[in-house]
């Protein structure tokens, strides 16, 4: 399956990203509970992009691991102000803005792989993978 890129520029795009991820997760054979995890994590991270990054995009890449299991890699990136202290942001209870601090550590618990890179002033990129 080919990769897909979705612009994240307004609140409405969060819904579009969720629907796209739901459709891909179904096509890749994820169980209902894993579909829900993926859609929820998409909602969290896409909202971070829209609320804090201003504008950015989500890239969805269907993938496969060495054992032949299907997976879905999602990349969220923005050119926003970035996160000055990633370690602090990854702790439970950290809050910026209006109490969305559960976002990052909670999102990490919903996927198998979680990677975050951020440069103050340049933007943030979060890469996540979940396997079937």
């Amino acid at each position: 399956m080919p990769s897909k890129s979705i612009a994240l520029e307004g609140e409405r795009d969060i819904s579009i990203a969720r629907n796209e991820v739901r459709a891909l997760a179904v096509a890749l054979g994820f169980r209902l509970i894993d579909q829900t995890r993926l859609v929820t994590v998409t909602s969290e991270l896409a909202r971070n992009v829209v609320k804090y990054g201003g504008r950015g995009r989500m890239i969805a890449q269907p993938t496969q691991n060495a054992q032949g299991h299907n997976g879905l890699r999602l990349i969220f990136e923005d050119a926003g102000p970035g996160i000055p202290d990633i370690n602090a942001a990854m702790r439970d209870g950290f809050t910026t803005g209006r109490g969305l601090g559960k976002g990052l550590p909670g999102s990490k618990r919903l996927v198998h792989e979680f990677q975050i890179e951020s440069e103050p002033g340049r933007g943030t990129r979060v890469i996540i993978v979940r396997w079937t």
Binding site: I14, N19, Q35, V39, T40, S43, R47, G99, L100, K102
Partner: protein, 142 residues
Amino acid sequence: MEGSRIPILKVGRVLIVPIQFDMDDQTVMLLQERILSELERTGARGVLIDISLLEMVDSFIGRVLSDIAAMARIMDARTVVVGMQPAVAITLVELGLELRGVDTVLNVDEGIKLLRSEFGIDDEDDAGNRELSGLAEQINRS
């Protein structure tokens, strides 16, 4: 406005809010406002928010549900969240959210029972009670 497409039904002294589709953030915020203004307008004392058709609850919706419950309480009304699906519940727990302060029940029937027995809502309104039971039956059947 999309927000006004979610119906808010008043039966007896209870508002029933069946959420039937994926909501964007604006729809969620509008819904919160509409529930509160309906509470004020009707003097209802209970709110049943039925999320059994909702396929996802993220931290934003979770927070709004908690907010509605807290705000309604100040207006002397109790809020009950109805019918959360297992996959949604597991995901919400993993996300680290527990919807503190929100009462949850399996279905509309249990919701009405809870509002009556625990919070004493609708005891004095028999006609409304009958209507409510009939509606609960209808919702459960559909």
